[in-house]
């Protein structure tokens, strides 16, 4: 038996396998780091940075440190970051290429943390930088606007026209900037093209040169050659200038078409802006919600927007279209074989985190009041192939060490087992002691309130449906402002001890139709209806004026420039025609000139001969015509005589017949008479 065993082979096998395993173990960390950074960046659209990935063996586990996932829209911020993640791994599925992680624990989790360097991907780093700067600018402007609005809100219920125009993204501004940019671009192109055109004097010089070259006969072959050389040079210059004119014409034509289109968009923009703003800042069904939104400040809207933006970023990661397509392709490729799946208590998707848990510090609310405390987040069954494990992703967020809140619970179910997919979240917040919450109008502050909030949001196929309700008990309002309106407002609110705010949002996730209703609105509405109507009309007029001013600021000075472009186009056409005419001139060779002279003489002789021949022909024709006329006359005479004779013979025959008849009648009379 022992003679069948090859000991050297056994040793060789062990050494080779050991070497491969050692190399794999050395390389796996850096390889995984590279893979996570590469594919993570591709999935998120921004840099994913990992400090280190190391492997542990008892049990098989991965430790990932220093992870930063940059925010695509704000590359100097992290979408999410964490200090350490410890993940246990199942070894056998790993051999099949399935990453099954029974448990992940994260520590040092942060959301929206600042990065030390930009997280934009290299290919669009410039674009991202511009966006970051733009975001910064927007933020600065917004901050300024908030300050301004605070000061102006003293005397107004609705925001001023200036506030609205600064707050909203106006089509007039967008199209105005686009028009301005396009105008500068085309102007430069046209100026460049025009600078290389011949001027009027240049055209006159061409004509003079051309006349000098073409006038008079060639005195000799040298004279001809000299003129020919000059003529060729002139022709080359013509050609160049003609091309320059064609280029300039094209530049003007393109510029004109583009600017006309942008101008027409710009002209329509104020009208559209006004319609949009009127719908938003009125007290109709939709507009009333905005008054409530103004009252409760921009904080709520801001947090909702942030939550939605996180959901928007997360959603594409939940749907594994690529995996589904691959699965179909695998089914189609029968020749390579296929995997047959059976019912299992142990399904294996490509990637599956069974449990993920971490703690997170809550943001401040209201602002500058310190964090609300911490939440423990637990997520179960994170995978892109929910159909394989037949379970949705489940989320539980529970408050811990909360400040001024009795309890906080958020639950979520992200179900993408079917192609439509449905994600739902619910929020239950109890006994939240709200203090000094600044409201958006007249320096109003919600001094204290015991608040309960409940809400549910469902996302189905990029459509959302949100219903939320906040119950504010034991409310107390106040205002630091001393103007009449603030006083009136505080007085009206004094009797209010309890009110509710209901929020609903439905429609596309990117632009849901939001409605915020409050019974507080009704109470205030009655008191301020009349004042609001007046303000509304005033605001609309102001908006109209401001929008027209804006249009003029973009468009006014360019109307003349557009006319000038038309003139330039006409002048270029004239220049083109003039050059065309000059370009048609021809210079023949000296031999051609001699040939032409001989040909001219020959043509003259030929013309003379032809004229002679023509004259003889005409004479002959006249003779012929005369003879023919005489012949005609003779023929006519003959015909007349013939007709006369026939008539005579006919008369005689008639007479004879009558005579015979008469004789016959007489004979008959005699016989019977």
């Amino acid at each position: 038996m022992m003679k069948w065993i090859r000991w050297s082979g056994l040793a060789g096998f062990v050494v080779v396998v050991g070497l491969i395993a050692a190399l794999w173990l050395l390389a796996i960390g850096p390889l995984m780091k590279m893979a996570v950074e590469k594919y993570g960046s591709e999935a998120v659209g921004a840099q994913v940075n990992v400090e280190e990935i190391s492997l542990g063996f008892s049990p098989l586990s991965l430790t990932i440190t220093g992870v930063q996932v940059a925010d695509k829209d704000a590359p100097m911020e992290n979408l999410v970051s964490f200090d350490t993640a410890v993940a246990t791994l199942e070894p056998f599925p790993l051999l099949l290429g399935h990453i099954i992680i029974p448990d992940v624990k994260l520590s040092g989790v942060g959301i929206g943390t600042t990065r030390q360097y930009s997280g934009a991907l290299s290919f669009d780093s410039n674009e991202q930088q511009v966006e970051v700067e733009k975001d910064k600018l927007d933020e600065d402007t917004a901050t300024e606007n908030v300050t301004e609005s605070d000061s102006t809100a003293d005397s107004q219920v609705l925001p001023s026209a200036d506030e609205i125009l600064n707050r909203e993204t106006l089509l007039t501004s967008v199209h105005g900037e686009a028009f301005e940019g396009a105008y500068k671009l085309h102007k430069k192109a046209i100026d460049d093209a025009i600078s290389s055109l011949p001027n009027e004097q240049g055209l006159k010089n061409y004509e003079a040169d051309l006349n000098r070259i073409l006038k008079g006969k060639f005195k000799s072959v040298d004279d001809f050659k000299q003129r020919k050389k000059e003529f060729d040079a002139l022709k080359a210059q013509f050609k160049k200038d003609k091309q320059a004119i064609a280029d300039a014409k094209m530049a003007v034509k393109n510029g004109k078409a583009d600017l006309e289109q942008k101008w027409s968009q710009l002209k329509d923009a104020p009208k559209q802006d006004l319609t949009n703003l009127k719908g938003k800042y009125t007290l109709d069904g939709v507009g009333a919600s905005n008054l409530a939104a103004l009252l409760f400040g921009e904080d709520v809207g801001g947090y909702a927007e942030t939550a939605l933006s996180y959901y928007e970023k997360l959603r594409p990661l939940l749907v594994d279209d690529e995996a589904k397509a691959e699965k179909q392709a695998l089914l189609d490729q029968r020749l390579n074989g296929r995997l047959v799946h059976f019912k299992s208590d142990n399904p294996l998707p490509d990637f599956w985190i069974k449990t993920l848990s971490f703690s997170l510090t809550l943001p401040e609310f209201p602002q500058d009041s310190g964090s609300l405390g911490q939440v423990i987040v637990k997520v179960q069954d994170i995978t892109q192939q929910q159909d394989v494990i037949n379970a949705p992703i489940k989320l539980w967020v529970t408050g811990q060490n909360l400040k001024d809140i009795s309890s906080l619970a958020i639950t979520g179910v992200l179900d993408h087992r079917t192609s439509t997919g449905s994600d739902s979240f619910s929020l239950d917040l109890k006994q939240w002691q709200l203090n000094n919450l600044k409201l958006g109008v007249a320096g109003l502050t919600l001094l204290s309130s015991n608040t309960n909030v409940q809400g549910k949001v469902v996302f189905v196929d990029e459509q959302m449906n949100l219903v939320g309700k906040g119950l504010f008990n034991q409310t107390k309002f106040g205002s630091k402002k001393t103007n009449t309106f603030a006083k009136e407002m505080v007085a009206a609110l004094k009797s209010v001890e309890q009110f509710t705010v209901s929020m609903s949002a439905e429609g596309a996730v990117t632009s849901p139709s939001v409605s915020l209703k409050s019974d507080l609105d009704n109470q205030l509405k009655v008191a301020f209806d009349q004042r609001l109507d007046e303000k509304q009309a005033e605001l609309e007029n102001k908006l109209k004026e401001k929008l027209n001013d804006k249009l003029l600021s973009y468009g006014g000075k360019y109307t003349e420039q557009l006319k000038a472009l038309n003139l330039t186009e006409g002048s270029l056409k004239d220049k083109g025609k003039a050059l065309e005419k000059l370009g048609k001139a021809k210079l023949s060779s000296y031999e051609d000139q001699l040939k032409a002279e001989a040909a001219a003489k020959e043509a003259e002789i030929r013309a003379k001969a032809e004229a002679e021949e023509q004259r003889a022909k005409e004479k002959l024709e006249a003779e012929k015509a005369k003879l023919k006329a005489e012949e005609e006359r003779a023929k006519a005479k003959l015909e007349a005589e013939k007709a006369k004779a026939e008539a005579k013979a006919k008369a005689e025959a008639e007479e004879k017949r009558k005579e015979l008849e008469r004789k016959a009648k007489e004979k008959l009379k005699k016989i019977f008479g």
């Binding site: 096998f13 995997l339 059976f342």
Partner: protein
């Protein structure tokens, strides 16, 4: 092709044991007919290294069976399909499917299962038949074959000489 033929002749005409050669061919069935990067092939490689199997026969056989696999793959797939879809065997497959170890072997892949089953079925016949053929060849045909012109040509080729040298070295 000439290379393969020279290798084959060297093997047949050498003094390697017919049992080791035939075992080499039999193990080659697995590596050649089944997808190479599979866990079971690691076991086959381990056995080939540890058991005194003729390595020349194993590598030669692997090359030949890999070529054959291109032709018979559809057949293997249909064998795998029929086995995996056989209602009588569903409980067996479902049982194995619950184990991560068995799934690591990808037993539920039609081509892999079909080819492994085929190779297993052919293993014993391959050992017996190739052993008989080698013995018969060496006893009755080797001398006659060596006299043939083609045999001389192959023996004169640089491949054959190179293999012969390698054989001497090993």
């Amino acid at each position: 092709m000439f290379n393969l033929l020279a290798k084959f002749l060297k093997l047949l005409n050498g003094d390697a044991s017919p049992g080791q050669i035939s075992l080499g061919f039999a193990f080659a069935l697995f590596v050649g007919l089944t997808p190479f990067f599979s866990l079971h092939n690691l076991i086959i490689l381990f056995l080939v290294c540890v058991i005194r199997v003729n390595l020349g026969a194993f590598f030669l056989g692997s090359a030949v069976f890999t070529l054959i696999a291109f032709i018979v793959d559809p057949l293997m797939i249909s064998v795998g399909e029929s086995l995996l879809n056989n209602p009588d065997l569903t409980s067996l497959w479902t049982g194995l499917y619950q184990s991560d170890v068995w799934r690591a072997f990808k037993f539920n892949h039609t081509l892999l299962l079909g080819s492994v089953v085929t190779a297993s079925v052919l293993f014993i016949p391959m050992v017996i038949v190739s052993r008989i053929i080698i013995s018969v060849y060496r006893e009755r045909l080797m001398k006659w074959f060596e006299k043939l012109q083609i045999s001389k040509m192959i023996k004169a080729s640089k491949f054959y000489k190179a293999y012969e040298k390698l054989g001497e070295l090993s």
